[in-house]
Amino acid sequence: MEEDTLAQLVDLLSLPRLLHIAAIAALAWVLLHLVHRGLQRLMQRFPRYRLQMGQLFPVIRILTWALVVGYVIFGIVRPPQTIVFAVLGSLGLAIGLAAQGGVRNLLAGIMMIFNPPFRVGDMVRFGGHYGEVTRLDLSVTWLRTLDDNVVMVPNAVVLDNAVANANSGELSEMVVVSIDLPRDVPLRLVRELALDAARSSPYSFLKKPITVLLEARHDLDFLVRVIIKAYVVDVRYERRLASDVTERFLDAFRAVQPDPSAQSAPPAA
C-alpha cells in the first residue's frame, strides 16, 4: 500500500509537471516583485496614503501564494484523494511538532496580516528596539531604527510581547521633548517660549494640541524640567521635530535671559 502511494507520488511529480510548477512559481514571484516595486513607487509618490498601501502588500502576497499553491495542487498535480489525505495528515503532524519554531512564526505572521497590531510605516517599540516598520514578512518583521539599523524580529516574538505603537496607523505622532533648566528661571516665560517653539516648527502638526508641562527635579542641583509634547506632521520627521523644537526653545531662551557668564563674572576692581 505504501509502495503504491509512493509510486503514485513519483508519477504525479513528473519532470514536465515540475517544470510547470516552477514556471508558475517563477511567474508569481516576478508578479509579486513588480507589485512590490509598483507599490513602493506609489508610496513615494503619495506619502499621505503610504500606510494603507503598505498594508496591502502582505495581503496580496499571501493571497497570491495561496492561489499558486491551490492551482499547483488542483490544476497541475491533481492528486488522488488518498494522496491528499496522506499529505494533509503529514502536514498536520509537522505543524503540530514544529509549532515552537519556524511554523510558529509563520502562523503568527498570518495572524498579523489579518489582525495587524501595526502596519508598515508605523513607529513601534518592542524587544528593546524602536523604529519604523519597513516590512512585514510571513515569519519576521523588519524595523528600521532611528540610528538607521535594520532589526529583524520573529513574528512569534512580536505576538508574545507587548508592542508600543506610537502612531497606530496615523501619519502624525506625538513627540516628547524634555529640556532641563536651572531652578530660578521665570516659569511663565519658559512656558510661553516652549509653546512658541513647538508652534513655530515647520514639522509640528498644528491640528493636534501642543502641551507644555513643567516639573521640579533634582540632579546634583534643583532643576526645572520643561516637557514639550507636540505632534509631528509625519512620523518620518520625528527626530527633526524634536531637534528643531529644542534648538528654537534654547535660542529663544538665551535671547531673553541675561548672559550667565556676565552674572558669574567677578566684580570689576
Binding site: L34, G38, R48, R199, S201, P202, L206, D234
Partner: protein
C-alpha cells in the same frame, strides 16, 4: 488620441510605476507646455506674438474685480449669506464673518463686492494686510493703519475705546493669512486682532478674508470658529459657473453677440472650446482656465479671426521631484502667504546662502514668483506661490502629507 498612443502612454506609466523609466518629462511633450509659459513676462510676450486683441487680454486680467464689475459671476449664494449677516448685525447681534477659500478663488473680489454692497447707510472700510505683525505693539499699530486711523494708538485698550466711539460700520480685513505664521510672536498679534474684533463686535461688523489653509490653522490653534459665524466659502467654479465667467470676459472684450452676452445662447467661442476640457484642466480655477483658454487661441492669418486649437496641458511633473525641504518651504508659502527671504531664513533656521538657493531653485522651477523690492538696500525680495499654479501645488503638498 489614437489607440496606439493610449497604449504607449499606458506602457510608459507602467514602466514608471515599476521604476523601469525615470520621472523625467516625456520627450514627446509639446514645447509649449512648460510652466514658465504661465509667468507674467512670458505670457505677455506670447500673447503679443499671437496677436491676441488687447481688449481680450484686458478683460482676462487676473486682477481682483472692482465693485459692480460685470465679470463678477457665480457668487450669488455667498452674497445672500452676506446680506443675511448684515441683517443680523443690524438687528443687534454681534457679528464676525470670515470669507475663506483656496487661493485664487476670488476672496478679494468678493470682499470688494461686499464692501460696495453695504446699502444701509453704514460706512464700510476695506483694508488689506500686506505684512506680518512682529509683536503685540506692532499688531496694534498695523490694525490702526488698516482701519484708517490717523494717529497710531498706544495700546489695545485705547484702540478698542476709539473704535467703540465710532459710528457703526463694516470693517473688511483682507489677506488674513498674514496673521497666521510660524514666527515667534505671531500668536500675540493674533490675540490683538482677535481681542479688538471681539471687544467691538457689538458695534461694528467685522469681516476677515483668509485663505483656507490659514483659516484652518486659526481654527486648529485658536479655535477661531467659535467666535466667527459660519464661514462664507468661495470654492472654485463648477463647469456652468466657469462658462459664465468666460462668457463675461468675452462680453467685456466685445467678442460676444448680443444674445450670448445675455446668457440666452452659448457663446460661439465656447462652442469651439469645450468647457469640460477647461474645467478638467483648471479644476474650476478661473485664472487658470482663462490662461488655458487664451493659450489655445490663434489669430487666423488669412481672415484675422480668432481660432481655437486643442488645449495643451501644462507639465507639472516637477512637483513630483521636490525634496522634503522644498516641500516644507512651499507648504509655509501655501499656508501663510508670501515670505521675505529673511523671514524664510528665520523660519527654517538656515544660512543666507541656503535660503537663497532654496527659494531661487523654486523660483526657477516657476513654482514661486519673486517680487524685488525697488530700491531695497537689504536686497530682501518677497517670494509667493505662483498664483496660477496654487491649486496644483496645494494638491501635491496635500498628497505629500505636509499641507493639511
Amino acid at each position: 488620441m489614437s489607440q496606439s498612443a493610449s497604449s504607449a502612454s499606458l506602457l510608459r506609466w507602467l514602466r514608471r510605476l515599476v521604476g523601469a523609466e525615470d520621472e523625467a518629462p516625456s520627450p514627446t511633450v509639446a514645447p509649449d507646455d512648460e510652466l514658465s509659459l504661465a509667468t507674467s513676462q512670458r505670457r505677455a510676450r506670447r500673447y503679443a506674438d499671437l496677436g491676441l486683441p488687447p481688449a481680450l487680454l484686458e478683460a482676462c486680467s487676473d486682477e481682483p474685480l472692482p465693485v459692480g464689475d460685470g465679470r463678477f459671476v457665480g457668487r450669488e449664494k455667498q452674497l445672500e449669506q452676506w446680506q443675511a449677516a448684515l441683517v443680523r448685525w443690524r438687528d443687534g447681534r454681534g457679528e464676525m464673518q470670515v470669507v475663506t477659500g483656496p487661493p485664487g478663488s476670488g476672496i478679494t473680489s468678493l470682499l470688494q463686492q461686499m464692501a460696495g454692497g453695504v446699502a444701509g447707510g453704514e460706512a464700510s472700510h476695506y483694508g488689506a494686510l500686506n505684512r506680518r505683525p512682529a509683536d503685540e505693539a506692532d499688531a496694534v499699530r498695523l490694525l490702526g493703519e488698516l482701519l484708517g486711523l490717523a494717529e497710531p494708538r498706544e495700546s489695545v485698550d485705547a484702540l478698542v475705546d476709539d473704535l467703540n466711539s465710532l459710528s457703526p460700520r463694516v470693517f473688511l480685513v483682507d489677506n488674513g493669512h498674514f496673521l497666521v505664521s510660524r514666527m515667534f510672536g505671531s500668536h500675540q498679534a493674533i490675540r490683538v486682532f482677535g481681542g479688538v474684533m471681539l471687544a467691538t463686535r457689538q458695534r461694528h461688523l467685522w469681516v476677515l478674508g483668509c485663505q483656507e489653509h490659514a483659516w484652518r490653522r486659526l481654527v486648529y490653534v485658536h479655535q477661531a470658529d467659535r467666535d466667527f459665524d459660519v464661514p462664507i466659502e468661495t470654492a472654485f467654479f463648477s463647469e456652468a459657473e466657469l462658462g459664465r465667467c468666460l462668457a463675461a470676459r468675452l462680453d467685456r472684450a466685445g467678442l460676444l453677440p448680443g444674445d450670448a452676452a445675455e446668457g440666452k445662447e452659448k457663446p460661439a467661442a465656447l462652442h469651439e472650446r469645450p468647457l469640460s476640457g477647461l474645467q478638467k484642466l483648471s479644476g474650476g480655477k478661473c485664472d487658470l482656465a482663462t490662461f488655458y483658454f487664451l493659450n489655445s487661441l490663434r489669430v487666423d492669418p488669412e481672415d484675422g479671426q480668432l481660432r481655437s486649437e486643442p488645449l495643451v496641458e501644462l507639465d507639472f511633473s516637477v512637483l513630483n521631484r521636490l525634496t522634503p525641504d522644498e516641500l516644507f518651504t512651499l507648504t509655509e508659502l501655501a499656508a501663510h502667504g508670501p515670505l521675505h527671504r529673511s523671514e524664510h531664513r528665520r523660519l527654517f533656521r538656515t544660512s543666507v546662502e541656503e535660503t537663497w538657493l532654496m527659494l531661487e531653485r523654486l523660483h526657477q522651477a516657476c513654482l514661486l514668483v519673486r517680487e524685488d523690492a525697488a530700491g531695497d538696500p537689504e536686497d530682501d525680495p518677497t517670494y509667493r506661490i505662483t498664483p496660477l499654479f496654487s491649486a496644483q501645488i496645494s494638491r501635491r503638498l496635500g498628497i505629500a502629507n505636509v499641507l493639511y
